[in-house]
Symmetry: C2
Subunit: 102 residues, 2 copies
Amino acid sequence: MQKPKYHIFVCTSSRPNGQQKGFCLSNDGVEILMKFVEEIEDRELEGEVFVTNTGCFGVCEQGPIVVVYPDNVWYGSVTPDDVEEIMDEHIEGGNPVSRLEI
Amino acid sequence: MQKPKYHIFVCTSSRPNGQQKGFCLSNDGVEILMKFVEEIEDRELEGEVFVTNTGCFGVCEQGPIVVVYPDNVWYGSVTPDDVEEIMDEHIEGGNPVSRLEI
């Protein structure tokens, strides 16, 4: 199979309201995921950049969480508006967005 | 934050019965996930080996799927019985289990 150059993982974990865990889903996790899907399609990077939703990464208090491999770069407090910058700077530019790193 | 040396991703995607997608959940995806959690605890590797469940990787026909980063190694047709071998050979030994690679 064709393997990705970059693989973006977006937490979309959910828990009942009022619990700390489940923070990512209730803070636009799915919107962040779909924004990555859209940006990857727009830039015609489908073959080399994969995006996958995940369960809890265990660092909910720093969510929403996005992790980029193979770089092992962890982003926290990500908003849908940050997706374009991550795509420009990190995925296409090769430089992680340091202001979002945790 | 402390980053993992290895991060194991296990597909636990689900879909309605009778559809090809959703193969991983109905073929022991959660059991595979829990076996990794157990093996990591038994070997006291919690700080350096992370395991996370995911949504669909898009290669359902080769599932259940397990992906290990930063190595970008993709395993298919994984069973709960394969988990110990992946832990021994790949995670602790540094050599991917070639018979399971896709």
